[in-house]
């Protein structure tokens, strides 16, 4: 592959990963801050998640009795899959050397690999909380998968490819496709799915510790110290990466090309940071006004998004712009 020896592309990819690793806690902190201000609280500041991480990483490593390596390695697998996704996606520049190694289906697969690792860890603890969280999480994941793949389908119709660079550059070249019914429906479907997959309101409340409503938090209840830090870091990175993906799939401006100059990379970095910040702010604002759905109402929401995705595909078939 010529892309593998392409130095600017490699640098851009490395920068992308570093930006996600460093920026994810700020995204989480920013969302908490927006929520706090809207609720009339002072809030802990945008940097609070970073301070939490530093504190957790210095704490004692605790192994709950009876757990196996599955529990021990799950945080690293979640974080690892997320880092890999960050390296594949065209966040700052298009020319990731891994772009041709994994298309959108591969990315979805990696995302689910991380989810599966955490659900197994929840079961591995052998507590009621762990099992409960895992059961709920895997049910949502199973119902999310059809929508994600159909949305991928809808998005890959205009670019005739499921590889991300092709989709993003097709949208950048034909911005008119963005206002097509297929694209809009796919956006809504994907947004719902990402909210479900990252455990935000109304599917899961990231700040709850009430056993009746916990999903993600129940699953990771036994984690403490450095491993908890890794899990929380990873879930922040997942959120960041997925917001970045949505941003660039539907607003691909500012993304540097395959062989970018230094300036283009910097513009790309600023552009994606701004897009993710705006999306995160919108998401956090929206969350203030809605309550968590009852668990058994979530499938209805997901069925709705599945229908939207199906319509998106059909629409992109019937209203396909001639190329």
């Amino acid at each position: 592959m010529s892309a593998a020896t392409d130095l600017p592309g490699l640098t851009a990819t490395a920068l992308q990963v570093v930006a996600v690793v460093a920026g994810a806690p700020f995204v989480v902190g920013g969302m908490r801050q927006v929520r706090a201000r809207l609720e009339g609280r002072a809030g802990g500041g945008v940097g609070q998640p970073w301070r939490d991480l530093r504190k957790q990483l210095r704490k004692q490593q605790i192994t709950p009795a009876g757990t196996t390596v599955v529990f021990g390695f799950a945080p690293a697998v979640v974080a690892g899959t997320t880092l890999l996704i960050a390296a594949i996606l065209p966040l700052i520049a298009l020319g990731s050397p891994l772009d041709s190694a994994a298309d959108l289906f591969g990315v979805v697969g990696l995302l689910f690999l991380g989810t599966v690792a955490l659900t197994l860890a929840g079961l591995d603890t052998g507590t009621a909380f762990g099992g409960m969280g895992s059961s709920r999480e895997i049910t949502i994941a199973a119902l999310v998968e059809p929508t994600i793949l159909l949305a991928v389908f809808a998005l890959s119709v205009p670019g005739h490819s499921a590889n991300l660079a092709a989709i993003v550059s097709a949208t950048a070249d034909h911005p008119g496709q963005l206002v097509s019914p297929g694209s809009l429906l796919a956006f809504v479907a994907l947004a719902i799915v990402i909210i479900a997959e990252t455990g935000r309101l109304p599917v899961d409340n990231p700040s709850t510790h009430l056993e009746l409503t916990m999903i993600h938090e129940a699953m990771i209840l036994e984690y403490a110290g450095p491993k908890l830090a890794l899990v929380e870091w990873a879930s922040g990175m997942r959120l960041t990466v997925l917001l970045g993906l949505v941003a660039n799939l539907f607003l691909p401006w500012g993304v540097a090309g395959a062989h970018p100059s230094v300036l283009a990379v910097l513009i790309g970095l600023v552009a994606i940071s701004a897009k993710v910040a705006v999306l995160a702010g919108v998401l956090a604002t929206g969350e203030v006004f809605i309550a968590k759905l009852r668990y058994f109402r979530i499938p209805e929401l997901l069925a709705g998004s599945f229908l939207l995705a199906l319509l998106a595909v059909t629409a992109s078939y019937f209203f396909a712009t001639p190329t």
Binding site: Q61, S100, A142, E145
Partner: protein, 668 residues
Amino acid sequence: MTTALDDSPTVPAPDQGLTAARQARGQAVLSGGVTAALGVVGVAFGLSAVFGQSWHLRIGWLLPLVGVVFDLGPLGGFFVAATGGVSIAVGIYAVGYAQREHWAAFTLVMLPLFVAAMLLVPAAGSVTTFLLAWELMAGASLVLVLSEHRREAVRSAGVFYAVMTQLGFVAILLALVVLSAAGGGDAFATISAHSGAVSAGTRTAVFLLTLMGFGSKAGLLPLHAWLPRAHPEAPSPVSALMSAAMVNMGIYGLIRIDQQILGPGPNWWGLTLMVFGALSAVFGVLQASVATDLKRLLAYSTTENMGLITLALGAAALLSSYGAHQVAAMAMTAALLLILSHAAFKTLAFLAAGSVLASTGLRDLDKLGGLARRMPGTTVMFGIAALGASGLPLGAGFVGEWLLLQSLIHSPHNNNTLLALMMPLSVGAVALTTGLGIAAMVKAFGVGFLARPRSAAAEAAAEAPVSMLAGMTLGAAACAVFAVAPVALSPVLRQVLAALPTVGGNEAGPALGGYLRLPGIPGSMSPGLIAAALVIAVLVALGLGRWGWRRRPVAAAAALWACGADSLSSKMQYTATSFAEPLQRVFDNVLQPETDVEVTHFAESQYLVEKVTYRTTLADPVERRLYTPVVRAVTTWAQWVRRAHPGSVHLYLAYGALGLLVVLVISR
């Protein structure tokens, strides 16, 4: 296992114990060794046939009039090689398993015979030979299913299996007889040469009959009901052979008769295959995700995977009939890849389930748990199989499912409403299948092997002997190759595809190099590179987690959080039933569970509850809706016919005379 005790012929006296053990060992080694050797022969012949060496053999004296004809081409070779591969792993495994479970001599003899019969089916070159081999395979498998016949459940499963497999055979027999009458000969080569002259009506009849017969063997809806009965009750190595190799013969039949000999068919053939495939996949995986019996779960997963393969086959046929040969070649390659990967991970899964069963006597996930510490080797093996079955990256099934999805989304749809509707719906079905498959496999692995033991039997589990682990290792190695280096299969798939002109065989299929490339479409993927990059990424993540480790106090173990109580009992864990409860509720309408809640109040006050009994049963709704009425109708009819033979010899003589008269009148 209780049946192991039942099946051992006599309890040997102490002085004879050593000799008897040595004899049992010798018999097991012989049986397993012959099975594995047959597997090696199968792989060798199969691969040589795939690469162009066609084998032709005619034994005239074996069957009167027509003789026995074997004719092994690339397609048959592919299935012979796949069956052979499964048999090698099962043969090695059976050496240990047969000793541990004290197999009777009869079972030991039937195991290699079953493998031999399965190897002969794809090698058959004529209708008669095919039917003979098919019936040998069905008979041998039936006998093996019944090898623990002292248990009631086994006998009932055996009857069910016998009836369904014979009804399927009748359908195939009718189809092939009609076909050979219309095609002017007994040999497949002759029929193939004259297939153009076969009338449309005959084609339709043959297609429908073969769909029924081969579909029941492959476990497609609604003829799947024997799988979740027979596979759990058969000894585990036999389950592995049936589930990973025998069901493939149904797919082989569909490809060989309907595509290679009769094809290309009208477009509704492909459409029908797609519909039945999608329904089977979704229904199978849904049942698997709520099943609590480990082997029943795996059996339903077989229905799911055969459904996906049939869907891919149907898509290839449909696309081909619309002239989209390139995408059809992709779909067909996906079908072939799925056959191989399913064979690998399902062999491994059933063998690992067999280890668990041999060690604990349990198949019920609700009573298992904690095996990761007690059977680490088996746990790793089942983990690899479960990863393969869930279709995630690094799993054996990923590449096949990826190709299937790619072929569905890249189907051309120009002005064709049928394709424009069918393909998105199929993608939805495949995606739902994958999602629920992940849930089913997380349940099987997480509840069955992780956490803490839920019963005394699971607590006392011990690791399987070396030969069983060796057999499983072989399956795991195959899974690993399919997962990260499908390039190894590329030459085989190319050859087989070239033998299937009606499903895109004239086109170059997808290039399975280090990068998987799609022909004519800008799309690629590299499972090997993903695996390598993921290893690096996980190492980086571990590095991130070590940040500041110098300042940490020494690591320690701590008790689990028990909400302030003293300790957690293992009964407080989630079980397989509770784990799948949300899914069961979501798919309430399809699964139709029957739930009884019985509340007993205290005599003093009806506001105080003394106890609550909760019972839920999940019967197969298709079975209840379709099979029960049929069985009832047959029984009613039999009762009615019974009136005609009250036991009077005079009446029977009258029947005979009447019958003779009718024959005479007709034949005059």
